[in-house]
């Protein structure tokens, strides 16, 4: 699940949660301009695809803004 309110998704039991931008624009940020908005959106969607191929044992957050190509999964407390 891609969600701007990712903690809520985690506490309600979604297995793989990707941190979205904002409630108004979950998969991008129009204020960045067309090119950067697209890049940001791609990063979110790529993270979501990576999440799908990552085994998880409990609700897990995937953060597209985390540094590095291999983003570390952050487990829900």
């Amino acid at each position: 699940m891609i969600s701007a309110i990712y903690n809520f998704a985690l506490t309600t039991g979604a297995n793989r949660v990707v941190r979205g931008a904002r409630i108004e624009h979950v998969c991008g940020d129009p204020s960045l301009g067309p090119e950067k908005d697209h890049a940001y959106g791609m990063r979110i969607v790529t993270t979501a695809l990576e999440a799908l191929t990552t085994p998880v044992a409990s609700p897990t957050l995937f953060d597209p803004l985390a540094p590095g190509p291999a983003r570390e999964a952050v487990h829900a407390s």
């Binding site: 701007a4 309110i5 903690n7 506490t11 941190r19 931008a21 409630i23």
Partner: protein, 436 residues
């Protein structure tokens, strides 16, 4: 901060040659009141009608209900900030109110074209539907008002609300120089340290995120509707109208905010059962997890800095605003402040919880019943003899009704009419609660 609130009970409203109050009878010079409205060039048409308790009358569309209040002594004006009114800090001196009446803002102007926040409230002065709301027992002076249709959405909103305030000011001025038959002193003097110290955390919606405008018309603190960090208000400021409606339910009107029974009880039992520290107004509908967590944290920090041991919490919305309200409760509990949350509940479809995010820290909850009229199984409101406002009402298949877009089946307002989608008694005016 000391406020003397003088009440002038209204038991009858009639149109006459003068606007004056005498022994429970409010006489209104209709032409003079409408002249005050028409001074604003943005207003195209305006009319005044009276709705009395028990009459077979329906009022539609209802945008707000305002209790006429006027500052008699002390700084500022009642209902400060909104519609360009002055912003001097209120809550001191003497204020007079016309009790038992409302000025009803009746107009086809919708809030804003985003987020589904369309005007859907109608009020009945009799019958089972009318009895669900406090307004049925009020004498209501209804301003049916339409602005210049060429104006932008936000201007139309402020124009019609300013018009309703002009009527409120006009009638409230009639009791400015009179001696109030009833009065009450509101003051939060220091009290015995043995009493528990309690704060009221009051979540109110901001339309900023969904409208895309920091000045969209809605619930306001000193006229500001934008998303702001939590406000610390003295309850006397709220009694003078520093916090105003309306939002989208009949319980989020300016009248219900000014007459919030929870806040009045917190004031009246100060020094007897607890020490009431004040009101933290939490603006809601932030749109990232970080923002929601931050305002929750800061709300709890403010409460802790005030020395609160307990907090009562309400909110006026449904949906994503719940997150920051819940995070404020969680942050309070984690910093040792016990909370009681008063809220309506959603229906439990397929065994889902009746709370959007039932965090374990929120372990003391007072239910005011179900959020939706459909869950409460409220039958259609019966046909009425007279309508104040629009003759037609849009009704959609999912029972959502309103003046917004996409509500294309028009029915006669005289009814019978399905109730609005939302009920949601935010402040405990009614007696509904949970199913034990």
């Amino acid at each position: 901060m000391r406020l003397e609130l003088g009440s002038f009970p209204v038991r009858e409203i009639a149109f006459g040659r003068h606007t004056r109050y005498d022994g429970g009878r409010l006489e209104v010079n209709r032409e003079a009141a409408l002249a005050a409205v028409m001074r604003d060039p943005r207003i195209a048409t305006a009319a005044l009608e009276i709705a009395r308790p028990g009459e077979s009358v329906r009022i539609w569309p209802v945008r707000d209900v305002i209790e006429p209040r006027v500052k008699v002594e002390g700084p500022g004006v009642c209902y400060p900030g909104i519609c360009g009114r002055e912003v001097a800090t209120v809550g001191q001196g003497r204020t007079h109110r016309l009790a038992g009446m409302g000025v009803v803002e009746v107009s086809s102007v919708n809030w804003h074209d985003a987020g589904g926040d369309f005007v859907e409230t109608y009020l009945d002065m009799s019958g089972h539907y009318g009895a669900m709301y406090p307004y049925r027992n009020l004498h209501n002076l209804c301003l049916v008002v339409e602005p210049d249709p060429g104006l932008g959405e936000e201007s139309r909103n402020y124009a019609v609300h300013g018009a309703a305030l002009a009527v409120s000011d006009h009638v409230a001025a009639a009791v400015r120089g009179l001696t109030a038959p009833e009065y009450e002193i509101f003051v939060l003097d220091p009290v015995s340290s043995a009493l528990p110290r309690v704060v009221y955390i009051w979540g109110v919606h901001s339309p900023q995120a969904m409208s895309g405008s920091s000045t969209a018309f809605c619930t306001a603190t000193y006229g500001l509707t934008q998303l702001t960090p939590p406000w610390l208000l003295h309850p006397n400021e709220i009694l003078d109208g520093a916090l105003t409606g309306p939002y989208r339910t009949a319980f989020a009107m300016s009248w219900t905010v000014a007459n919030n029974p929870l806040m009045l009880d917190l004031c009246r039992r100060h020094g007897k059962d607890w020490s009431f520290l004040g009101v933290i107004v939490l603006r809601t509908e932030w749109t990232t997890q970080t923002e929601k967590q931050l305002v929750g944290n800061q709300t709890a920090k403010l409460a802790a800095m005030l020395g609160a041991q307990g907090a009562v919490v309400t909110w006026d919305a449904g949906g994503n605003e719940f997150i920051e309200v819940m995070r404020a409760i969680q942050a309070c509990e984690r910093s040792g402040i016990k909370t009681v949350f008063m809220t309506s509940e959603d229906d439990a479809t397929d065994g889902a919880p009746t709370m959007l995010e039932p965090l374990p820290e929120a372990d003391a909850i007072v239910s005011t019943g179900f959020f939706k009229n459909a869950t409460l199984r409220v039958p259609a409101a019966p046909a009425v003899e007279r309508v104040i406002g629009l003759a037609d009402k849009a009704v959609a298949g999912d029972r959502r009704t309103g003046v917004g877009k996409g509500r294309d089946e028009l029915v006669a307002t005289t009814g019978p009419l399905p109730p609005p989608w939302r009920y949601d008694d935010h402040y405990g005016f009614g007696t509904l609660s949970c199913i034990e």
